[in-house]
Each structure stands twice: as structure tokens, then as C-alpha cells.
Symmetry: C2
Subunit: 343 residues, 2 copies
DNA sequence: CGACCATAGGATAGCGCTGTCTTTGCGAAC
DNA sequence: GTTCGCAAAGACAGCGCTATCCTATGGTCG
């Protein structure tokens, strides 16, 4: 029983170890390790034996020991600003579907739209020595940037492209998306077009920039038609801001909401007060959440390709981890104007 | 430089180690370890010194080494059936707020309402040797049950109580909640009351049981007024099922939806087709999602105390980890009927 | 046919911490 | 003054793996 350290009182919970697997398969521990990881050159016959032994014992490698010995874990750190937004859930789901089959664990960090919290998460989770990072946007503290740099880890930035030169990023141009929203409302003959935004993260602001610039070029920009608030986006807030905006600027005939939940709240508030959408006011959302297609009237929106972004970002990260050079480090996945009844 | 193993080519990324902290503080590594963990008896003066040294070096303990040496990680495994439902996001947030300050990492496992996936997650994540488990409901495979049992880990079950005797659980009676829904619709004078459910997880079915039984007792149960589908719950599905139900059973005058998103879809579909709510049909939801209060008409619902459940479950788990005995292993957090315009 | 080399498998030595025992120091009790 | 007890700090060993070197084997080539 030399392979089993039960002679001395063991601290472990009695889970089988690699040593026991190796012993049962009649090979050395290191060969068992190699066989199970599929590394290098182990004869097929031995691989079979080791795998069988592992199965019989119900062996699961101890990730802590593995991480300590190899100086890295089998995890990928994904940092998102919120879990309350279905957008990021969809993205995470897509990431998961790519990384899980490769044996990588997805570690989710929610930084609640706070740069400081993101920095904290980085500091803590980098200690786990993940294989790579998937980050949202480019807006972060200088410390965070330094930690990412110093870690030397493969890193892909998701969602935005507008200031990602030199970085690996998968997303779409927030500025262009905002511009497209403006063009759409203009094309519908709207004259007094408002912009309502909450949360005010970088991507929302960039959307606003594109939107504003396009209205300016068309000579239709009026700063009085903007509501920006750092409060978190929600249906309730959308209702509130819609009422507030129409009370202050009754002549408005088109509104771009930086998020579908705000737009949904607006539609509900409009219905409540008999405001005709789109006749009196056209309403355009952003992200195209699943429920938007069922609103009354059905909400026009800009569909963001979060599933593809998640998938591609994860795939790109896999390539980086594998040491491949990336042909296209900046991947523009575009966006799609989804026209429904509300505009 | 005996404390720094740079003499030999090191595999590490050059992050400072406990040895270096200890050396700088002029103490032994084990004392530094104790000082930083706040364990046992280390003189205040030394603790101060060690903490200072750690700060100066930017030392962060290596969780893998820690886990390997101590035979457990600093994580708690939380298994939820979905992240698409705001219910579980709120629960997770609450859990986080309790466990994070205690230095415990929350590891999220999403099993997509699949028992097999839950079993897989358990098998994989148990290898990380978490400090405890927070699980959703009681419905799982026999294998899963055995793994939980065999792990010997503290475990708290969330959301349901109905079959949790002998276990530590925090939630509310799904059966009673269903019964309350039925009583409410009956109290509104409704005669032909329907039940619409999706997903069909155990908790949904229990709600249905309570609802059904109460209608039966009132002599108002009609199996033709039930729609059950395993499809995942969504606003779109709610619209669809509402239309389907009213087409088949136009005389229906009250509906209990097992989830707010379904009910929201129903309200939207009703508005679209001029069905008066609550005059023609009363609509009652479940969970009271944030947007429900802003629907037209405002949706009546049963508010489930997910934040408190998350918090209490996490606190109870902390107690179990600390080895305390729990005075009240079964905590009924109740539920609240939120009356709005739709009933 | 011997030097050479590629290849499969093993021996060794840690990775960076913490559990457990041991030692040290110092005041209280006799 | 000696013994005891207890608290504080350290020594030691090892958690369960894998990186790295090393050895044995058999084939290839001039």
C-alpha cells in the first residue's frame, strides 16, 4: 500500500488520487498524469488502461494540486458589468458553450458597473491564475489596466470596438449603432428627436455620441431633448423618464432609448396615458431583448449580436491560449436594426 | 536570498510568496500565514508587521496552494437552474453580499433546469473542495444526492420547504403559495379559473398542486382549464399560451400564471386583442418581477422573498461552516400577495 | 556494426501554502 | 528556586499534482 498514504493519518477526504490510479493501471504517476491530460506521447494501450483505472476509481483530478504544480488553473475569468441585463446572460451562455467543452471553467465576475469593483475582482481572481480573460469594454482604472498587462494573460475585450486598436476585441461600433438609430428616426420623418439614457457606462455614452453627431449633421440636434441619468436601467425608470420627458417637451416626436427595458417602460407609460406610438412619438430601443417583440406596439430596436460576440470572443481566446496568432484581432460583428411597430 | 527561489529557474510568474512576506517582516512563514489569516495567537505587533510587509509587496495568497495544503478552498458552490430568470439573479446577489465580506468566493453553477447537468456540475465542482453548498430545491438525481452526502459538506437548500424535512432549508411553501393564488382569484368571485405553467420544475408543479387542491375544495376545478408545458418560461410564451387558452376556453375569467413573465405576455396579448383585464379575465402572476408593477394593467403577483432567502441561506451556511448547530433548520420566509390592477 | 537519435516512460524535485507537533519564554504556584 | 502550565513562535512534513531532466529502448544511417 505504498501508494496510499493511509499509513499516516491523512488530511484528505479520501478521494482517489493520481497515485492510486497510476498504481491500479500499473504505470508511474507521471504517465498517468500525461495519459489523462492527453499530452505528449503515451502509448494508446497505456492511455486506455489509465482511463479505465480512473473511471473505476471515480477519479477526478484535484484542481488545486494541478494549479499549484502547473502554475495555472483551468479557468477563464469573465468580467461583466451586470447580471440583471439579459444581454450579459446571453453572452455568458455563449462563452460557456465554447469553453466548457474544452475543459475550461468559466468564472463569472460581476462588477456592477463599478470600475473599483472590477479592479477588486481582477486583483482577487488573478491570484487564481486563470488561462485567460474576457473583459467588457475598455473603460477601467489605470490599476486594472496595469494588472492585466502585468499578468501577461491572453485577453479579449467584448462589446465595443471604438477604442480597441492594438487589442483583441469582438463587438460592434457603439458609435455607429447610435448613428444608425438617429438615421432611422430621421428616415421616419421625425423632427424633434430625443435621447434617453441610463447607467451611463462608456458604451451608452458612445452610442449617445454617434446618435448626437448624426442629428447635428442633420440640423436636428437639441440638447433639451436629452435625458441622461446614472441610475440603473429598468422598465420602471423608462416609464418615469418618458413621462418626465413628454411633460417637459411635449412636442417631441421620436425617442431613442439606450436600452430596451427603458423603451418598454416608455411604451407602457404611453399606453397608460393614451399617447399614440408611433403616431405621436416613435420609440426605438436598443439590444432587442426577447420580450420587446411582444410589446404593444411591438418595439423597434437595434439587435446586438451578443451570442456571436460571446462565442467569437471565447474562440479567439482559445486561439490566444493555444499560442496562435490572430489574423483579425478586431472583429466587428455588426448590429441589426429590427423594425417593428413602434417606429 | 534563501527565501527567494530565483536561484533556480522558477516556474512562477514572479508574484510575491508568503516566504518573502515572512522574510520582510522578520518572522517565520508559518507565523506570517497565521497573522494574515487572523488565526490563533500571534502578537499584535507581529500581525501589524506582517500585514505591512504584505501590503508593501502587494502579496495575495495563492488560492491553489492554500486549497492544497488545507484540503479546502475558500469557495461556496451555488447551483441555480437558470440565470435568465431575474429571481435567481436577485438570490445570487444576496448570497454574494453575505459571503463576500467573509472572504468566501461564490461559484455559480447554472444547471439549466437539467438534473443531469446539475449532477455534472456537482461532480466537477466538488473537486474544488468548496466550504459549502447552496442548492435550489430538492429535485435531483440519486447520484447527486449521494455525492452531496458523501462530500460531508454543509449544505442549505433554497426556495422550497415542502419536502425538506431533516435538511437545512430556507424558502417558502410552494404548495401554500399556489393555494393562496387560488384563494385570491376565488375571493375575486372568479368561477372558471385556469392555471398556466411552463418549465415544469418541481417548484412549479408544487405550486400547481396547491392551486389545484384549493380549487377542488371550492368545487371550481376543471382540468380543461390547465395548460402545462415544459418549454422555458418567457413573455412570448405567455402571449402564445394566453391566446391559445382563450381560444379553447373563452369562458375563462381568471388565470394564475406560474411566472410573471408568462403573465406579462398574457397582459400584452390581451391588450393587443382588446381583452379586458381584469373585467373579462383576471390575471395573477408569480414572483413579482420588477417590471410587473409597470404593466398595463399593473400585474398582481405573489412576491417571493428571494433576497431574504439568499441572505438567510448564506448566513445559515456560514453558521454550519463555523460548526454551530442551527436552531431553526427549516426557515419559512413566506410570500406576499401583491394586489394590483390585473385582478 | 557502432554511433546517433528519436521516443516512451520514469525519477526527482518542487509548486506555495498549512496541519501538527515541538520548542521557547515567562509568569504563577509551591 | 524549581516546577508546571500556558501562550507564542517555529520546524517539519506534506497536500496531489506536473515541469524538467534522465534513462532505456529500438530503429536508422554512414
Amino acid at each position: 500500500m505504498a501508494y496510499n498514504k493511509n499509513d499516516r493519518r491523512s488530511r484528505t477526504k479520501g478521494r482517489p488520487t493520481l497515485n492510486e490510479v497510476a498504481h491500479r493501471a500499473g504505470v508511474s504517476p507521471i504517465t498517468a498524469s500525461r495519459a489523462l491530460r492527453g499530452v505528449a506521447t503515451v502509448a494508446e494501450e497505456l492511455v486506455r488502461k489509465v482511463e479505465e483505472a480512473a473511471r473505476e476509481l471515480g477519479y477526478i483530478a484535484n484542481p488545486a494540486a494541478r494549479a499549484l504544480a502547473s502554475a495555472h488553473s483551468q479557468s477563464v475569468l469573465v468580467l461583466v458589468p451586470s447580471l440583471a441585463n439579459q444581454l450579459f446572460i446571453d453572452t455568458l451562455e455563449a462563452i460557456h458553450s465554447v469553453l466548457r467543452p474544452k475543459g475550461l471553467e468559466v468564472v463569472i465576475g460581476n462588477f456592477h458597473y463599478s470600475r473599483e469593483e472590477e479592479e477588486d475582482l481582477l486583483r482577487n481572481y488573478l491570484a487564481y491564475q486563470p488561462r485567460g480573460l474576457l473583459l467588457t469594454g475598455f473603460e477601467r482604472t489605470e490599476s486594472s489596466r496595469r494588472m492585466i498587462e502585468a499578468s501577461g494573460l491572453p485577453c479579449v475585450y467584448m462589446m465595443d470596438l471604438d477604442s480597441g486598436s492594438g487589442l483583441h476585441c469582438v463587438g460592434f461600433s457603439q458609435v455607429n449603432a447610435g448613428a444608425a438609430a438617429a438615421r432611422h428616426l430621421l428616415s421616419r420623418g421625425r423632427q424633434r428627436i430625443a435621447f434617453v439614457a441610463a447607467q451611463l457606462d462608456q458604451r451608452t455614452l458612445l452610442r449617445g455620441d454617434g446618435f448626437r453627431r448624426t442629428l447635428q449633421q442633420a440640423g436636428r440636434y437639441d440638447p433639451a431633448f436629452e435625458i441622461l441619468t446614472p441610475r440603473p436601467s429598468s422598465v420602471g425608470l423608462g416609464s418615469e423618464l418618458f413621462a418626465q420627458l413628454l411633460a417637459a417637451q411635449p412636442q417631441i416626436d421620436g425617442i431613442f432609448f439606450c436600452n430596451d427595458d427603458l423603451a418598454q417602460g416608455a411604451l407602457l407609460e404611453a399606453a397608460r396615458h393614451g399617447v399614440k406610438v408611433p403616431e405621436q412619438v416613435a420609440v426605438l430601443g436598443f439590444n432587442d431583448l426577447p420580450s420587446s417583440a411582444f410589446m404593444v406596439p411591438r418595439l423597434s430596436s437595434i439587435r446586438t449580436p451578443r451570442e456571436i460576440i460571446g462565442r467569437r470572443a471565447a474562440e479567439q481566446l482559445l486561439d490566444l491560449i493555444a499560442g496562435k496568432t490572430i489574423a483579425e484581432p478586431v472583429q466587428d460583428m455588426g448590429f441589426e436594426l429590427v423594425l417593428r411597430e413602434s417606429t
